[in-house]
Amino acid sequence: MQSEKQSNSLIKRILQSISDASLVPFLAILTAVIIGGIIIKIVGGDPFLAYKGLIEGSFGSPELGLEKSLKAISETAVWSTPYIFAGLAVALAFKGGLFNIGAEGQLAVGAVFSALIGYALPEWLGFDLPVYIHLPLAIIVGMLMGGVWAGIVGALKAYTGGHEVINTIMMNYIALNTTSFLLNGVMKDRSPTNVIARTPLIAESARMPAIFDGLRVHWGFVLALLVAFFIWWLLNKTTLGFEIRTVGLNPDAAQYAGINVKRTIILTMMLSGMLAGLAGSIEVTGLNYRHELGFSIGYGYDAIAIALLGKSHPLGIVLASFLFAAMRNGATRMQFLTQLPVDLISMIQALILLFVAADAIIRYIYRIKSKGERVVLTRGWGG
């Protein structure tokens, strides 16, 4: 009896904490959707039809039939995969007191190297590799290069104090320029019909299989969920996670407690970059089978919104990724039904980000009392 009561109250407590944590994000989404609707009305569209299109396009509906609905859900999962990885990347950095705006660049670097291993390694070696070697190798190399790319910024932060916000943005432009250079030059697809800046297709042995026949959703989606769990475990159950969080909360206290702050900053950035690199690798090996210039415009920036919306918690990020993926995926159907441009989605997402970041506004509108202390996300130039 006693233990049943206890477990009951435990479940209640968990539910309570989930509803506490999700109340503000939920209201932020609601407010953004309402304002988005007003904007649609102003530009002469039908908000209800637009949102109907969004939902149908992302989750299907009886109207569309089973096959199309399954396809819609599969596509939402496909969209959510890079979002989960990139969102985790930004969130992990947040936990360590670092703001990684560079997921976009790290993702591109990961994608370039995965594609390179994917199409060029068999040529270099002169023989074909089995899939259980080639595929993991392509993914791991992409992941590590993403980590190195971000690690540079981490090292600059740790040893010179160069602020990671500006440096990650600069690294984005450097990544963009460099990949443009490579994809227009040495890595360009040499097939005679090709005029686009893209790599050749990667070998069959470097491709990730689809989970179901006929649907595009691939094992990378499952990997994303596993990695989300792994990050939760890493942050909450390991010494490294404890060190990352401590440095994030108070670097001076961490130093005093004997944590190597410099090392932790570099490691945090590298792990963050590895996650972003994974986002790129998985897109190449699981979905596109090549890297094409401009395939990822905005993943890295959406990732910031996702990390904030998910309150930097892996479960929250998975849910926020689904939401953003559903919006991106449903946008095509929305455009089909209402002629409204897809860019409308970016605006609604920006509004969601605005209200999530400025939760004080949401608390003010809906008269919710603030609980607990402020969370430190980033530090000023001096930090």
């Binding site: 530009v43 600059l156 010179t160 320029n177 443009s180 441009p341 400025a358 530090r379 000023g380």
Partner: protein
């Protein structure tokens, strides 16, 4: 700004100019190359100078403004759009439309800055997050409106971009005229004077930016307003104690900063080229911040740093002109993707503090709680 910093700036500019002179002398005399580089440098440094000044005002008052990029982008769009509206819908004179466009851009910058001020001063949101919100909002808003108004079915302008009223004219500084009598009949002398004249013939925003640098220096360091601004940025509590309204000072300075960013936005679509494309600011708002940091949060220092970035951009532009005379061992200079990396790598290098560390205002980025 100390001698070390100015020395570094002079060195980098000399190197960048030197490369172009060495490469281009097969085609043109050095004086012509140098003056053309200088003219380009001053012109393309304009948005960076104004962006850096925007940052100086905000951060001297204690508000970190990472949203300059977004403010510039939004202002570039609305300034351009406003000009088109005045010109096409209200049939105003082209010049009037252009000038009104500049005002719309400044106003847009101020409105975006107001959002930043509300977020960071009233609601005490993390200022870097607030700035990022502005950047992402700017991309979404301009991308959406650009598509909605000009392209696709049901767009306001019927599927195409209408002719814009054009760009601001170049203002001629009559140096050549002044020297005509001195040069007499010497054609070489006149040619040289004309080459030098090109440096001074700039467009209004570029000229205004330089005036604003010195005006801002005066305002920040020689007026009561400037003293109060710096006080709320360094020690808001002390400022509050002596009766300065911290929130009001911060609001005012963030709004001024927004206007500067708005004017920088106008440079892109009203002074440089009469068209808009999504993401046209291309990171220059962030480079402005680096210029501000390297300039130690002073207007003149920030301007000097902005000129370095301007020079590295001028290098890229001029390398395209001398593309065909680049010696084979320097073939990498033909790759615009590689030469285009210069400002970004320079920014990261400068931020390492190797050239000397700079100190931000003490209360920079810290919300003031009474």
């Amino acid at each position: 700004m100390d001698w070390k910093r100015f020395g570094f700036i002079a060195l980098i500019i000399t190197v960048l100019f030197g490369v172009v002179v060495v490469v281009g002398q097969a085609k043109q005399p050095p004086l012509l190359i140098i003056t053309s580089m200088l003219a380009t440098t001053i012109a393309v440094a304009t948005p960076l100078t104004l962006g850096a000044l925007s940052g100086v005002y905000c951060e001297r008052a204690g508000v970190v403004n990472i949203g300059i990029e977004g403010m510039m982008l939004t202002a570039a769009f609305f300034g351009w759009l406003g000009g088109i509206y005045m010109f096409q819908i209200y049939h105003m004179d082209a010049m009037v439309s252009i000038v009104l466009g500049v005002f719309f851009a400044i106003l847009t910058g101020a409105i975006m800055a107001l959002l930043h001020a509300v977020l960071s001063i009233t609601f005490k949101v993390d200022q870097i997050i607030g700035g990022t919100v502005i950047n992402i909002l700017a991309v979404g808003l301009t991308g959406f409106l650009n598509r909605q108004l000009f392209f696709g079915k049901g767009s306001v302008f019927g599927g195409s971009v209408p002719a814009s009223p054009g760009v601001l004219p170049t203002i001629h500084v009559p140096i050549t005229e002044l020297f005509t009598s001195i040069c007499g009949s010497s054609a070489a002398c006149l040619e040289n004077v004309q080459a030098v004249n090109r440096v001074f013939d700039q467009k209004p925003i570029a000229m205004g930016a330089i005036l604003l640098v010195f005006l801002s220096h005066y305002v920040l360091f020689n007026t009561r307003w400037g003293l109060r601004t710096r006080a709320v940025g360094e020690h808001p509590k002390a400022a509050d104690t002596v009766g300065i309204n911290v929130a009001k000072m911060r609001y005012a300075n963030v709004l001024i900063g927004g206007m500067f960013a708005g004017l920088a936005g106008a440079y892109f679509t009203i002074e440089s080229v009469p068209s808009f494309e999504p993401l046209l600011t291309n990171g220059r708002g962030f480079i402005s911040l680096a210029a501000m940091i390297f300039g130690n949060w002073t207007p003149i220092g920030a301007w000097a740093a902005a000129l370095v970035f301007g020079a590295s951009q001028a290098l890229l532009i001029n390398m395209q002109i001398y593309r065909d005379v680049i010696p084979p061992q320097w073939a990498f200079l033909q790759q615009s993707y590689i030469v285009g990396l210069t400002p970004y790598i320079l920014t990261m290098f400068i931020l390492t503090g190797i050239i000397g560390r700079t100190t931000p205002p003490a209360a920079d980025g810290v919300p003031y709680e009474k």
